[in-house]
């Protein structure tokens, strides 16, 4: 049994890794074909987006197996084991129940929503899409299995799956009878809609509470969209359609690719090398190590996106150097390291900015150009504060040693070249964004395995298995939050809100102020990916109504949420720092406070001086 299971897990891992390998290889083949044969790879775009679908679902399965889905980690503040146990039972049961419904919706979607004659290369679309019902069924099964129950309690997960199947009846009946279900089934479906209508408010409350208690966020989003769509007499299998739509967008392909690059960097010794290089370059300056810290963290975060990885990968070494070598106070050091984690989000190839582009249909190149000056201001503000602090603490400077500097530079030259090459490749237009992501994966693979030899080929498994839960976590949320945002579109609430707001509030400045405040609250409650996917679509029509440049709006959004990483109660970086530096949560919040104030000041500057974000995009 155990053995069989581990073989299945291996197969799952290999499917996921091979698909990701193809995501990197196909675009490179495309570039070569274009340059040498003046043609493309046949059906490559169809193959790529369907590989993404496979990666999305299989990585979601693996993430479920490893219990690493993104959630609001309030559980960690509960020390009572009994309470923890009960909460874990409840959240797993809810997850098994909801994902069972999503699995049935996926089955109905694949049979009704797709055309049998549409081929991807030589494989029918419908065959590729089977990964959806299979993937969600496996996830539901895993949530059921992971429910920590014993004895008679083992009936509970079974009931959760059966209950999910019953509430999926509208989708199942479509799967069997299409739109000509027998009268009795039709009556039951109608009854379910009616029921959903009457219980929708308590259910929404229960779901939100379960999110607070640690239920995976993608499950909560799936649950919210199912109940809201069902109670508005919609078709619940549209939830599966939204998953398909979200995971077959070519711009999303860049997300797994850049995440993979991030883990190649963090699993190799690149971080250490970069720190030594920057130290040898900057430690003669007052606050030189602060400059180095800010620049390195910005660089790392621009690749890894969700800034958590930066604190985890670099927090340790930077902490040692800042405290032991440079003698910065601990309070200051932890505050700095926690608050610089998000600073790279405005620089290419920032995944959140990519997502903003995809969500608002804004040209990503314009967004990257627009984020550049605000990003620099943020970096500069943090550096200036660091230098002032280091002056006040009388931190000694080291003598500049050219030899040391050159040696350091040589050690990290290939990693330093990476962003340079990517920016040139992208802004010159030689490569498309996905091709850049693919090129970056291949480049960093060659550098870390064959040039620097930090990683052996057998270490690749480790790189992939660290990257997969992050990719699975993000893509799972992305897929089901698309369903929730479609429900919101369906209600026409954004247009109505925009109409109402623009008649109630005339002043653009007042609107921007409200936007700042609202986004800070959002940042207090949601992670950045969920916020982009759920909240941004609501704001876009408002931005249009007030005549705000879409690039400026995107930058305001990201920079606001970046600060949200640092605001309690839900601040991703605060949590990770609590874990990384082994300090109480409240202490971390206190250390971060001065840095938070500075970042807030930059947020207001960027919001009320649109020129900062709209100047550079004019040149592209």
């Amino acid at each position: 049994m155990e053995k069989k299971q581990s073989i299945l897990w291996k197969i799952e891992d290999i499917i996921c890794w091979v698909s990701m390998g193809f995501l990197a290889a196909v675009p490179i083949a495309e570039v070569i074909a274009r340059i040498f044969f003046k043609t493309g790879v046949p059906a490559s775009s169809g193959i790529m987006i369907h590989l993404l679908l496979v990666v999305g679902l299989v990585s979601g399965m693996i993430t479920t197996r490893q219990q690493q889905h993104l959630s609001i980690e309030f559980l960690q503040f509960i020390s009572n084991d009994k309470v923890k146990h009960v909460l874990s039972i409840i959240t797993n049961l809810i997850a098994a129940f909801i994902i069972t419904i999503v699995a049935w919706c996926s089955a109905s979607f694949v049979s009704i929503g797709l055309s049998p004659w549409r081929m991807i290369g030589f494989i029918p679309d419908q065959v590729f899409a089977l990964v959806m019902p299979i993937g969600y069924a496996v996830m539901a099964f895993r949530f059921a299995r992971l429910t920590p129950v014993r004895g008679a309690g083992r009936i509970l997960p079974v009931l959760a799956v059966l209950g999910g199947t019953f509430f999926a009846l509208p989708a199942i009946s479509k799967l069997i009878w299409g739109f000509d279900a027998p009268d009795m089934v039709f009556a039951v479906n109608d009854g379910l809609s009616m029921l959903a209508y009457y219980i929708r408010i308590p259910v929404v409350i229960i779901l939100i509470v379960s999110a607070m208690l640690g239920c995976p966020l993608f499950v909560v989003m799936g649950g919210l969209s199912l109940i809201l769509i069902q109670s508005s007499w919609g078709e619940i299998d549209v939830v599966a359609n939204q998953v398909y739509t979200a995971l077959t967008q070519s711009s999303i392909i860049a997300i797994p690719l850049f995440t993979l690059v991030g883990f190649f960097l963090s699993e190799s010794k690149a971080g250490e090398r970069l720190v030594h290089t920057f130290r040898s370059l900057f430690s003669w300056l007052p606050g030189g190590m602060i400059i180095a810290t800010v620049v390195i963290c910005a660089f790392f975060t621009s690749f890894t996106g969700a800034s958590g990885v930066t604190i985890l990968a670099l927090g340790g070494i930077l902490y040692t150097i800042l405290i032991e070598k440079s003698k910065y106070p601990e309070k200051f050091t932890i505050g700095l390291l926690t608050s610089v984690g998000g600073i790279g989000l405005l620089f290419p190839p920032s995944v959140p900015l990519l997502l903003v582009g995809a969500t608002t249909m804004t040209n990503t190149m314009h967004l990257f150009a627009g984020g550049f000056i605000p990003g620099l201001i943020l970096v500069a503000a943090m550096i200036i504060f660091g230098i002032v602090a280091s002056r006040r603490n009388k931190i000694p400077v080291e003598k500049f040693q050219l030899k040391e500097a050159l040696r350091g530079l040589k050690g990290a030259v290939w990693e330093i070249l990476l962003p340079v090459l990517l920016i040139i490749g992208y802004f010159s237009g030689i490569l498309s964004l996905v091709e850049i992501g693919a090129a970056a994966v291949i480049y960093i693979f060659i550098i870390e395995v064959f040039v620097n030899r930090d990683l052996k080929l057998r270490d690749l498994g480790r790189v992939f298995s660290k990257a997969v839960p992050i990719i699975g976590g993000v893509l799972s949320i992305l897929a089901l939050s698309q369903a929730l945002s479609y429900y919101i579109v369906d209600t026409q609430a954004p247009e109505n809100l925009a109409r109402w707001m623009s008649s109630a509030i005339q002043s653009k400045v007042l609107f921007l102020l409200l936007l700042n405040l609202a986004l800070l609250v959002v940042g207090c409650l949601m992670d950045i990916f969920s916020a982009i996917l759920i909240v941004l679509p609501l704001i876009v029509p408002l931005g249009q109504a007030y005549g705000i440049d879409p690039v400026h709006l995107g930058i305001i959004f990201i920079i606001n949420l970046e600060v949200g990483f640092l605001t309690p109660p839900v601040g991703m970086n605060l949590f990770l720092a609590t874990y990384r530096f082994e300090k109480p949560f409240v202490e971390i919040c206190r250390y971060v406070f001065p840095f938070l104030l500075i970042q807030l000041a930059v947020v207001f500057l960027v919001t009320y001086v649109p020129w900062l974000s709209t100047f550079l995009p004019r040149f592209f």
């Binding site: 775009s45 169809g46 479509k174 078709e235 549209v238 359609n241 070519s250 190149m365 026409q492």
Partner: protein
């Protein structure tokens, strides 16, 4: 019981398309005494054409506005209308549609959809960095094509062009970097995507008509009480007449605006036109039956041949 029809469109609300749909919603409601409520989702908020088509199949949406791209995904016969350099001007297009509209509606109906209105929204044109007058001007260039239109790409490949598939949102960059030298696209899209700032030349030749159709799914059509249907179709015919010219005029407006920003329109003279048409006539036999449906293609061809002979 009140019937709600949700109809999605990728066009913005403040265009003739948007007005067409808003007026249709209003007049359908009035004509059915409020029994049929039409809700329009403008501006692509409900998804792109592929996505909207899937939502129609699931019955989450009841209707959508489709161009030949989406219609082709419903039923491949419609593709014959989009064959490059095949239908050549508005007169030919009107003639083909007046003869074959019923045929297309039947084919689309077989797949479970009901077209309730048709419009012609101008013509796909060629935009390039250097002027193009004859086919050989273009054959030495890299021609960008939408990655989601394999049939058209195949047709152009067979004609002997260098086809480079790219994503719509990367068109401008692809042109800027030299990944492609020319693209074919509707002038409204070119204006919207600012492509004319780089591909400054437009050839006057029509490549293919841009067809648009408001399509409902069969469920939605069945749910409308039969007594109202003739009146609703009458309303739509009137709307087609009222908006036909203003939708076609969109193209002229777009071209005029782009001209004021430096677009050059290169007029292709009759001798040069003949080179393009000879080229396609030579290649067509190999495309029919593979890329384009033989039966539909034959019908269109017969109509065009008779018309051209009698002119």
């Amino acid at each position: 019981r009140r019937q709600v029809l949700k109809i999605a469109s990728i066009a913005p609300e403040n265009t003739p398309y948007g007005e067409f749909l808003n007026r249709m919603a209003r007049e359908w409601r009035d004509a059915t005494n409020g029994e049929v409520e039409v809700r329009i989702y403008h501006n692509g908020v409900a998804g792109n054409e592929d996505d909207v088509l899937r939502k129609l199949k699931l019955n989450q949406l009841q209707g959508g506005v489709f161009t030949s791209l989406g219609l082709n995904a419903i039923t491949p016969e419609v593709m014959a209308l989009s064959c490059p350099f095949f239908i050549r001007d508005n007169d030919e297009m009107n003639l083909v549609m007046s003869n074959l509209r019923g045929d297309f509606e039947e084919k689309i109906g077989d797949k479970g959809f009901v077209p309730v209105a048709w419009t012609n929204a101008g013509w796909v044109k060629l935009f390039s960095k250097t002027p193009v007058f004859v086919p050989s001007d273009l054959k030495s260039q890299k021609l960008g094509t939408s990655a989601s239109e394999p049939e058209l790409t195949q047709a152009f490949k067979t004609l002997g062009y260098n086809m480079i598939p790219i994503n719509m949102n990367e068109l401008l960059m692809a042109l800027n970097s030299g990944m492609v030298d020319a693209i074919y696209q509707s002038p409204m899209m070119v204006a919207g995507l600012q492509i004319f700032t780089i591909a400054k030349n437009m050839a006057s030749i029509n490549i293919a008509p841009v067809v648009g159709s408001v399509v409902l799914n069969r469920n939605a059509w069945r749910s409308i009480p039969d007594k109202y249907k003739p009146r609703l179709m009458e309303i739509n015919r009137q709307l087609e007449r009222d908006f036909g010219s203003s939708i076609a005029k969109l193209e002229d407006d777009a071209v005029a605006t782009m001209k004021s920003y430096g677009l050059v329109v290169n007029t292709i003279n009759p001798d040069q036109l003949k080179l393009w048409y000879d080229d396609i006539d030579r290649t067509l036999p190999s495309l029919v039956g593979t890329t384009f449906d033989r039966e539909t293609f034959g019908k269109v061809d017969a109509i065009l041949k008779a018309y051209r002979a009698g002119r």
